[in-house]
């Protein structure tokens, strides 16, 4: 679709939002066009290749984001992406991202956290976050396979003593023993990869109560 380029202001704040290699291009509408039915088109570029490529599913769209996960799935390569605004026969110049390097820039999501408790201990089983995949049928790739130095920061809060302490682990199962019976403990886990600074996404806080102390109940009888 040919249009008069530069007739509209460009989209703004165009960036990749990347979590576990799910790479979403997002932008803000051009300024000063409130109420105008603007649509957008997107292209992407593999650094070192020859030309910009159209993202057909993001041609003439009215939303302000576009999923480029499939196009940017080779995380060791680097990419650019750009979007332009279209309204009738007018369109903006392209608004372009900086160079995007999924391997270094993706946010590492939290692991799945499973808690089980008995009288005096809580066992925590962590399941590593998974890399984005195109089809559910595809086999999953754990981020541990991509980041060999992936670690977890486990923090546990004793709601009775109001004390919190943490532990940095690489293994996926840990048991906190010698806890207080009949006490609510809350757990928060963050994945992190030592290296360049990265945004971190903590897990949902999960709480579990240790069981009542059976020995004291026996004495009562």
């Amino acid at each position: 679709v040919s249009c008069v380029s530069g007739g509209l202001p460009k989209p703004t704040n165009i960036t990749f939002l990347s979590i576990n290699m799910k790479n979403i291009l997002q932008w803000n509408p051009p300024q000063g066009l409130q109420g105008v039915e603007v649509t957008y088109s997107v292209q992407y570029f593999i650094y070192g290749q020859k030309k910009w490529l159209n993202k057909s599913e993001c041609r003439d769209i009215s939303r302000t984001y576009c999923d480029l996960s499939a196009e940017t799935s080779d995380y060791e390569r680097q990419y650019y992406a750009k979007a332009k605004a279209i309204w009738g026969t007018n369109c903006s110049k392209w608004a372009e991202t900086g160079r995007f390097y999924p391997f270094l820039e993706t946010q590492i999501g939290p692991p799945e956290v499973a808690l089980t408790a008995d009288e005096k201990s809580i066992s925590i089983v962590l399941t590593a976050p998974k890399k984005w995949k195109k089809n559910p049928e595809e086999s999953s790739i754990s981020l541990e396979q991509i980041y060999s130095n992936l670690k977890y920061n486990v923090s546990i809060h004793n709601t009775k003593s109001n004390r919190t302490w943490s532990q940095c682990v690489t293994n996926q199962t840990l048991v906190f023993g010698w806890l207080e019976p009949d006490t609510l403990y809350c757990v928060l886990v963050e994945s992190f990869v030592p290296g360049p600074p990265r945004l971190v996404q903590p897990s949902e806080k999960q709480c579990v109560s240790t069981l009542k102390d059976q020995t004291s109940t026996l004495k009562v009888k």
Partner: protein
């Protein structure tokens, strides 16, 4: 080999320095269709046996060519580049000391990979080549981190 040689390196400060110049430097690189380091045939295909030699060669490439060819006016960016350049100098010395006890043998594959990088550099006008190489430091740092640090944090 010398994979553990650079384990004592504090890569975090170098990576932080690069983050401080990444956008400014990469924005000046207008040749998006050309790369110096990141063609798949070079860095990503280096075998463990060649890691030491390629590391030594790439540090020398940056210290002897890239940092010298780049002329920077902004004090903020100059400080970051100086931090990286002096850290690379220290890494060269660390590798040198490590190397004296063990071999850092250069096979043909390692020499070829290094030559491709120098050839890529020579394809461009020298200022553009230096800017592009600086903009690709994140690729090199990630490669060094992956190949030298192993499980260290």
């Amino acid at each position: 080999g010398l994979r553990r040689c650079l384990i004592s390196m504090d890569m975090r400060r170098i990576e932080e320095s690069f983050q401080g110049i990444k956008n400014a430097i990469q924005a000046k690189d207008t040749f998006q269709n050309v790369t110096i380091l990141s063609t798949s045939e070079t860095l990503h295909s280096i075998k463990p046996l060649d890691v030491c030699c390629v590391t030594k060669n790439l540090l020398a490439f940056y210290v002897d060519r890239v940092f010298k060819d780049h002329q920077e006016l902004s004090p903020q960016i100059l400080r970051k580049i100086s931090s990286i350049a002096n850290s690379f100098l220290y890494m060269q010395k660390t590798l040198q000391r490590c190397q004296e006890q063990r071999l850092c043998h250069c096979r043909q594959e390692a020499t070829n990979a290094t030559r491709i990088i120098h050839d890529n550099y020579d394809q461009l006008e020298v200022r553009s080549a230096a800017i592009k190489s600086l903009g690709e430091l994140d690729v090199l740092l990630a490669w060094i981190d992956k190949n030298h640090q192993g499980t260290s944090a």
